[in-house]
Each structure stands twice: as structure tokens, then as C-alpha cells.
């Protein structure tokens, strides 16, 4: 289960990278399309047609961010219960918390764009937390299995 926990934590981090790349890809495509005479308004936004191919980046960002990443974070929390890594539950919980915060900031950013800026900041926080959780798991997996109580006893 340690390996699963570690893998899921890395997947969360990788997903943050995908999210950043997808968003910039989409925005860059929008800029190019507007430059060549395209007009972006609400009716285009609501249309089923893709005005420019890179809009897929924005769609990926939405689906990934609101469905896929929360599901992975939830699985990370579940795996942390079985992982027998000290602090695993805490770090998985933190990752989930940052994911929830990230979704909230992303959505609130539609109404208050400044919160969108915090969405960008929290992405880095989430990425760091996921990497940290994964690396802790690797450190524990590499060292001999140590019961938490014993560790507390020896370190105390």
C-alpha cells in the first residue's frame, strides 16, 4: 500500500503540472485566434463548437480539476489509512484540503478574479505538498519498517 500511496501522491503532483500546461495552452490558443480576427464572447463560450483547437486545454483543466484530481486525492486519503507510514494520513489530508481549496478558488475566481491569482499560488502549494508526501513515503519505504511507537520512543 506504501507504493500505491506514493504513486497516488506523485500522480497528484503530475496532475498539477498537466493543469498548468493545459491552461496556458488554452489561453495561448485563444490569443492566437483573437489575433487572427476571432471574437470571443459568451455565446462562443456557451457554444458546443470549438472556435479554436487549443480550447481543449481549458476543457481538460475543468474536467481534470473538478472530477479527476479530487477523486485521486480521495484515493490518496484512503490509501494513507493502509500505508503504515507515519504522518501519511496527515499529509494525504493536507493534499485533499489543498485540492478542495484549489477548486473553490478556481470557481470563486470567476466572480472575483483576484481569487484566481490565489488559485495560481495554491497550485504551487498543492504541488509541493503532494511531492513532499510522496518523498516521505519513499524515505520510509527505503528504510527498514519501523513502528511509529518505537520511533517515538527512540527519538524521544
Amino acid at each position: 500500500m506504501k507504493a500505491v500511496y506514493r504513486a497516488l501522491a506523485y500522480v497528484v503532483a503530475a496532475e498539477v503540472i498537466v493543469q498548468a500546461m493545459a491552461m496556458v495552452y488554452g489561453i495561448a490558443g485563444l490569443g492566437k485566434w483573437v489575433d487572427s480576427g476571432g471574437v470571443f464572447d459568451k455565446s462562443v463560450m456557451e457554444s458546443d463548437e470549438s472556435p479554436f483547437p487549443e480550447i481543449v486545454g481549458i476543457i481538460i483543466h475543468g474536467v481534470n480539476g473538478m472530477i479527476v484530481i479530487p477523486a485521486i486525492a480521495l484515493l490518496l486519503v484512503v490509501s494513507s489509512f493502509f500505508a503504515r507510514i507515519p504522518g501519511a494520513v496527515k499529509w494525504a489530508g493536507l493534499v485533499l484540503l489543498f485540492v478542495v481549496l484549489q477548486v473553490a478558488l478556481g470557481l470563486l475566481g470567476h466572480g472575483v478574479p483576484a481569487l484566481g491569482a490565489l488559485h495560481g499560488l495554491n497550485a504551487l502549494v498543492l504541488f509541493s505538498a503532494a511531492i513532499y508526501a510522496a518523498r516521505r513515503a519513499r524515505a520510509v519505504a527505503a528504510s527498514p519498517v519501523v513502528e511509529p511507537q518505537e520511533r517515538i520512543a527512540t527519538s524521544g
Partner: protein
């Protein structure tokens, strides 16, 4: 000892998993919808502080057996011959827009948009809808017109869908004057987008000779912006010194700005209702919400120079006589605020002493709808189908507070009633836009089966397929429940 503790730990881990996943499974399971359900039995009743009538037998389906009348009896006078008779034949086909572009979608009488239906006030309008080849079936809804309920064209609520090879005849007396449109209300998302729509213009009995009537129906076909099916500039001949009434109809799913380059204009009507005392505007954009209409009256320059009416980013109408080479104008920075435009007019009812008060709060929250996880729209904090069913009675004055906490624009409109905006974000209305039909209201009329006489049930709105949009937080509006179909 270690074996025991690891077993205990495993149990703890399993218990924790159940605690985390269990509620999700429960919510998922609870959100599953039956294969078929009635929109009439959906949600929970909200009587807004008024009498409940006999409707509170809700849930006991036998209640339909009580004294009342079927909505299908709420029709226009069947004995009166029509003054305007139109047959519209719906097809699913690849067709050519007036601009020449071939598009896959739907047509009415072989064209999209469908023919403009015109009638003057007092006339009996009769439209025979024939479905020749639309596999999912069609209906026609008369957007913004208070038709008898059985003529409202909402599949599954006021009538059964019109299948291939079937037909349905709509009849109503034109009692309102203004710009409206008609569209299918079966799988609206797909069929309206695909072109099952057209303009409906109800005019006064007398027509001013120096005003040219221009319909400007804006629709996006497969991402291409058009006006009356034309791409780019749609030229219209108007003599110098004359006026043009440009009836802008936004049939798309988002708000659109309209503005005029080359002449001042007045916003003379909104959503099929004339405004009181509209003043000339210049360098000002008018926001036309999804499904909404705006009638712009343009006074043509005496010198004969052409005038460009911008409709969103892509479609334009060019009014002119000799030249149609009108310069373009970027969207003005100022957008007209209807709260203070024009002069107030008497309402005919007192919104200060309502019979019922409702709140309608739009939000978004995570959850499951029919087993699908997502961030869903909510009404008063509840997800579909657990939405309020506003219960009103004939003659009631209803006051409603609408708040949008979602951060997004959401289109919706009220069928069969119209409302007046009293205030927005605490700022009262001071202008002459007394009747923003189809813009700022939240509930949809509709009821099924038999009803106790005189009691109207306003059913919960499935906001996902309503149209017209607003973004104001804390809009208050009031409407009176008009006697209808008696």
C-alpha cells in the same frame, strides 16, 4: 501482540475508509433518478407565506382526482377562426443559410431561422406544427408571450412531444405588442442551437409610416455568428430622416452587447414590452440577455450616411439608403443600466403588499445528480430535482428575492408571467423599464393533471434548460399572477 495491533490497525483503516467513502456512496445512491418522472411531482412545495390551497396533498398522487381542471383545457377560444394561419414543417436536415453556408441542423419550412410570424394586436394566431423528420420530436414555445397554458409548448409539461409524422396546432390571441421569438422546447439545448427557431413580431393595430421595421434575429450556427442567417453585414434600406425599429433577438445561450455606430438611438422596448420615456443614447451598449430582446429605434441621419448596428462581436445590421459602407465602432465602455433608464410608469398593482414572498438563490455546489459527480447548479442550496415548487394562486402579487451566488451568469426565464424589477443590490428602480419579462424572473409556470380551480402551481425550474440571463446579485422582483385560460 504485533499481529493483534496490526489487525486492529487494519480494522481502523477499513473503518476510516468507510467513513470517507460511505457518505459519497450514499449521496450517489440517493441522487439516482427513476427512469421516468413527472416534472409536476418534482421538488418540494414552497407556498411563500400564502394559503396552500389543496395542493398540499402533494405526494399522494391520487390528489389529481380532486375537483379541478386539466391544463390541456386551458386553450384559446376553439370556435374563433384564425386571423393569421401559418403551417411550420420541422425537418432535421443539412440546409443552406441565407448566407450560403451549408449547416447540419434543423429547419422550419426548409429554412433556418424559420419564417417571421407577424400578427397585430387582437388577432387570433394559429400555427400548425408538422414534424416531418426530427427524430426526437419537436414543440414550439412562444418565448415571452403569455399564451394559454396548453399552448405553451413545453414538452412533458404542457403537451406531449410532437413525434415524426405527427402535428400539433397552437392557437393564441395576440394580446401583447412587441418582439418575441418561437423555438422548440424539446431537447431545447440541441434543437434551439441547431436552428429550430424564428422571430415572432406582434405589432400595434396602427403602424407609424416613417418607421421601418427590422427584425435582427441573432443566432450562432456551429460557431458562426449570424443575423437572420446572414454572416457579416446584413444591409437594410432605410430612407434618410426615417426611423428604423431594429428588433434584436438574442437566441444564443449567453448575454450579448448591441450598440449603434453613426446615429443616436433609443431603447424603446425590452423583452417584448415598451419602455416608458426612453431617452436618446450615444456611445452606449445595450446588454441583450440570452433569449432576450431589445428594440433599438435608430433615427437615420438626414445626410444619408449609413448606420451600423453591432450585434455582439460578429453580426451587424447596416441601415442605409445609397451607401452601406458604415464604419465599425468598438464596443462602447458604457453599458446602459435599465434601473435608471426612462421614467417610471404606474404598475397596476402594489408590490409593497405581496400575497407571497419567495427567495430564489442560485448557487453551485459539489454533489451528485443522477449518479454523476460534479459541481452542480443549486436552487436555494438544493440540487436537481430537489428544487422548490413555488405555489401561487390566481390574482396573487408575488415578491421574489433572487440572488446569484454562483459567480457565473445563468440564463433562466419565467413562462406565462412577467415581473417588474424593484431593486438590485439594494438600489431601487427609478427608470421606465416596468416590465422585464423573461429577464429577471425565476419561476416557470406549468402544472400537470387536474388542478383545484383557481389555484396555480408554479413548478420548480430546471434551470439547466431555461434561457435569458442575469448576473445581478440580490435582484428583487414582483409579479402578479394573471388570470389565464379561464
Amino acid at each position: 501482540m504485533r499481529w493483534g495491533s496490526s489487525r486492529a490497525r487494519l480494522r481502523l483503516a477499513c473503518a476510516a475508509t468507510v467513513v470517507v467513502i460511505g457518505p459519497l456512496v450514499w449521496f450517489w445512491q440517493a441522487s439516482l433518478l427513476p427512469e421516468a418522472y413527472s416534472v409536476v411531482d418534482m421538488g418540494y412545495p414552497d407556498v411563500g407565506g400564502g394559503p396552500a390551497g389543496h395542493l398540499m396533498a402533494h405526494g399522494t398522487h391520487g390528489s389529481h382526482a380532486m375537483a379541478g381542471r386539466s391544463l390541456t383545457s386551458l386553450r384559446a377560444d376553439p370556435g374563433r377562426p384564425p386571423d393569421v394561419a401559418v403551417t411550420l414543417t420541422a425537418r432535421q436536415q443539412r440546409s443552406r443559410l441565407p448566407s450560403g453556408r451549408a449547416v447540419d441542423g434543423y429547419t422550419l419550412n426548409g429554412q433556418s431561422p424559420g419564417p417571421v410570424v407577424r400578427a397585430s394586436v387582437g388577432q387570433m394566431v394559429q400555427v400548425r406544427l408538422v414534424n416531418e423528420s426530427v427524430p426526437d420530436g419537436v414543440t414550439l414555445h412562444w418565448h415571452g408571450v403569455d399564451v394559454p397554458n396548453a399552448e405553451d409548448g413545453v414538452a412533458g409539461v404542457t403537451q406531449d412531444v410532437v413525434g415524426v409524422g405527427k402535428e400539433f396546432t397552437y392557437r393564441f390571441v395576440a394580446e401583447q405588442v412587441g418582439t418575441f421569438w418561437y423555438h422548440s422546447h424539446q431537447m431545447s439545448h440541441q434543437q434551439v442551437r441547431g436552428g429550430l427557431l424564428g422571430a415572432l413580431v406582434l405589432t400595434p393595430a396602427e403602424h407609424a409610416a416613417d418607421v421601418v421595421d427590422v427584425v435582427a434575429l441573432v443566432h450562432r450556427y456551429h460557431g458562426v455568428g449570424t443575423v437572420n442567417g446572414q454572416e457579416g453585414d446584413a444591409p437594410v434600406a432605410v430612407r434618410p430622416g426615417d426611423r428604423a425599429r431594429v428588433r434584436v433577438i438574442n437566441t444564443d445561450n449567453g448575454p450579448m452587447s448591441a450598440w449603434v455606430a453613426g446615429a443616436p438611438f433609443r431603447l424603446v422596448a425590452v423583452d417584448g414590452t415598451d419602455l416608458n420615456g426612453p431617452t436618446p443614447l450615444r456611445d452606449t451598449a445595450v446588454l441583450v440577455t440570452a433569449g432576450g430582446r431589445a428594440d433599438l429605434e435608430v433615427a437615420m441621419p438626414a445626410g444619408g450616411s449609413p448606420v451600423r448596428v453591432h450585434l455582439g462581436g460578429s453580426a451587424t445590421v447596416v441601415l442605409g439608403s445609397t451607401s452601406f459602407d458604415a464604419p465599425a465602432l468598438p464596443k462602447p465602455k458604457t453599458t446602459l443600466d435599465l434601473l435608471s433608464y426612462g421614467t417610471p410608469a404606474p404598475l397596476g398593482f402594489d408590490p409593497a403588499t405581496p400575497d407571497r414572498r419567495f427567495r430564489y438563490e442560485i448557487g453551485r455546489r459539489p454533489g451528485f445528480v443522477d449518479g454523476r459527480p460534479g459541481l452542480w447548479w443549486s436552487v436555494n442550496g438544493h440540487l436537481f430535482p430537489d428544487v422548490p415548487m413555488y405555489v401561487v394562486a390566481e390574482g396573487d402579487v408575488v415578491r421574489m428575492r433572487i440572488a446569484n451566488h454562483s459567480g457565473d451568469v445563468h440564463p433562466m426565464h419565467l413562462h406565462g408571467h412577467h415581473a417588474v424589477v424593484l431593486s438590485r443590490n439594494g438600489e431601487p428602480t427609478t427608470g421606465g423599464a416596468p416590465d422585464l419579462r423573461g429577464r429577471h424572473h425565476a419561476v416557470r409556470r406549468g402544472w400537470g393533471g387536474a388542478q383545484p380551480a383557481g389555484v396555480r402551481r408554479v413548478c420548480g425550474v430546471r434551470i439547466a434548460d431555461a434561457r435569458a440571463a442575469f448576473r445581478e446579485v440580490n435582484t428583487r422582483c414582483a409579479f402578479r399572477v394573471a388570470p389565464r385560460g379561464a
